[in-house]
C-alpha cells in the first residue's frame, strides 16, 4: 500500500468510513499484535490490547495530524495501552502460560550442562534458556522493556523507537545498553 493510498484511507476513516479503517487494520494488525504480545506476554491479553489499540486509533483519528507517520502513531497507542495494562494488572508472570514455570534453582543447578548448549558456537539454544530470557525481559522495568521490544522485537531504529516513545535517540540508546546489561546479568548462568 502506497503512502498516498494510506493517506486516502486515513482521510476516509476520519469521516467515519469503517471499511477504509479496516484496510488500515489489515495492514498493521500483525505488527501491532507482535508488539502487544511482546509487552503483555500472552496471546489473549495481546489480542485484547491490539483490538483496543485499533479502537482507540479509530476514535482518535480525527486528531491525527500527520506530524508523525500513522505507523508510529499506532505503535505509540499500542505502547501506551500495553504499559498501562501492565501497570494496572501487575502482570509480572504473564509469560508463564506459554513459557512454562521456570525454576531458577534448577537452572543454576544445571549451569555446567547449559554452558555448552548456550555457547556462541551452538546454534540451537535450550528451551530453558529461552524461558529464562522471556522471564528476564518480562522483569525489565517498563520503559526498558518497551524500548527493547521496539528495537529488538519490532526491529525499529533508535530514531523510530524514540518517536514512538516520545524521547530522544540518546535515551533509546542508553536504555538499550542498560536493558542488555540487565538481561546479561540475569542470564549469566546460561552464558559462557
Amino acid at each position: 500500500m502506497k503512502a498516498e493510498g494510506e493517506s486516502q484511507l486515513i482521510e476516509q476513516a476520519r469521516r467515519g468510513e469503517i471499511e477504509a479503517f479496516m484496510e488500515l487494520v489489515k495492514k498493521y494488525e500483525h505488527r501491532i499484535f507482535q508488539l502487544t504480545y511482546r509487552l503483555s506476554g500472552n496471546r489473549e491479553d495481546a489480542a485484547d490490547l491490539a483490538q483496543e489499540t485499533f479502537l482507540q486509533a479509530f476514535r482518535a483519528i480525527k486528531d491525527f495530524r500527520g506530524n508523525s507517520s500513522f505507523h508510529t502513531w499506532l505503535h505509540r497507542i499500542a505502547v501506551n495501552r500495553s504499559l498501562n495494562f501492565l501497570k494496572r494488572h501487575n502482570r509480572e508472570k504473564s509469560y508463564r502460560d506459554e513459557a512454562g514455570q521456570i525454576d531458577e534453582n534448577s537452572g543454576r543447578g544445571r549451569q555446567k550442562a547449559e554452558l555448552k548448549v548456550a555457547s556462541p558456537e551452538d546454534s540451537s539454544l535450550s528451551e530453558e534458556f529461552r524461558a529464562g530470557l522471556k522471564k528476564a525481559i518480562e522483569e525489565l522495568p517498563p520503559a526498558f522493556r518497551a524500548t527493547f521490544s521496539l528495537v529488538v522485537g519490532q526491529e525499529m531504529s533508535h530514531k523510530e523507537a524514540a518517536e514512538v516513545l516520545g524521547c530522544s535517540e540518546g535515551t533509546v540508546s542508553w536504555r538499550m545498553h542498560e536493558a542488555r546489561k540487565m538481561l546479561k546479568k540475569k542470564l549469566q548462568p546460561f552464558l559462557t
Binding site: 469503517i18 487494520v25 494488525e29 495481546a46 506530524n67 505502547v79 522485537g153 542470564l187
Partner: protein, 213 residues
C-alpha cells in the same frame, strides 16, 4: 577505552547505530579485551533469541475473528468519538492543568531552579565572605558560556555530541538514583499529536502528557 564504554558501543553496534570511527575504536578495544569479546558474543545470542521468542504465528481464521471483533465494535459505535473501550472509565478523570501544559511546567521548573541556585550562590557567598562575587570571576564564567554557545551554534556535530553526552550523563544519574522507575510509575500517555523530535531535548515530561485518548 573502559569496558563500560565499549559495552555501550557494542549495544549501539548491535542496533546498527554506530558510526565508523566509533566502530574502529570498539574494534581496537575488542582486539585486546577478552571480557568485552565474551560480552559481545553473549549479546549476540540474547539479540537473536529475543527476536525469535516474541514471534507468534496465528492461523488465518484467527485473524478473521480478530478483524470481525474490531468491525463489530466499530459498527456498533457508528462514529469514531462514540467508541467505548473496556477499562477506560477510570481514565476519564479530570486532567490536571499541569498535565495540560507540560512545556509551561518545564519552563517554570527550570526557571525556579536557576533563580533558586543563583539566589543561594549569591546569598550564601555574601554571607560567607561578606563580599560580592569578584567581577573578574563572573566575567570569566560569562565568557566560557559565550564561547561554548558560539562553538555549538557553528558546529552541528559538536552540538549533537555535546547534547548526547550531556543527556546520557543526566539519564545515568537519574537511573543510578532510581529516578527512572519513579518517572515511569505514572500513567503512560505519550502525546499523540503535534510531536516533534529534538535530539537535544530530554522531554522527560512527555511521560506526563495531557492528551488522553
Amino acid at each position: 577505552m573502559e569496558c563500560e564504554k565499549a559495552q555501550k558501543l557494542i549495544s549501539d553496534w548491535l542496533d546498527g547505530k554506530l558510526s565508523r570511527w566509533k566502530e574502529k575504536k570498539l574494534n581496537k578495544h575488542l582486539a585486546s579485551c577478552q571480557l568485552c569479546q565474551d560480552y559481545l558474543e553473549a549479546q549476540k545470542i540474547i539479540q537473536r533469541e529475543a527476536l525469535e521468542i516474541g514471534k507468534v504465528e496465528n492461523p488465518s481464521q484467527w485473524w478473521l475473528q480478530f478483524e470481525q471483533g474490531i468491525r463489530k465494535k466499530l459498527s456498533l459505535a457508528g462514529q469514531p468519538d462514540e467508541i467505548q473501550i473496556a477499562g477506560e472509565e477510570k481514565n476519564n478523570k479530570k486532567t490536571k492543568w499541569w498535565n495540560l501544559h507540560p512545556q509551561a511546567v518545564r519552563a517554570i521548573s527550570i526557571l525556579t531552579i536557576v533563580v533558586g541556585t543563583l539566589f543561594l550562590i549569591l546569598y550564601i557567598g555574601q554571607r560567607k565572605n561578606s563580599e560580592e562575587l569578584p567581577l573578574s570571576l563572573m566575567l570569566s564564567y560569562e565568557e566560557s558560556y559565550f564561547n561554548l554557545s558560539q562553538i555549538l551554534a557553528q558546529d552541528e556535530v559538536a552540538a549533537s555530541d555535546f547534547a548526547t553526552n550531556l543527556e546520557e550523563t543526566i539519564l545515568e544519574e537519574i537511573f543510578l538514583a532510581g529516578g527512572e522507575d519513579t518517572i515511569w510509575e505514572v500513567e503512560y500517555n505519550y502525546p499523540l499529536n503535534n510531536y516533534q523530535i529534538e535530539s537535544n531535548d530530554l522531554r522527560i515530561e512527555n511521560k506526563y502528557s495531557e492528551e488522553s485518548l
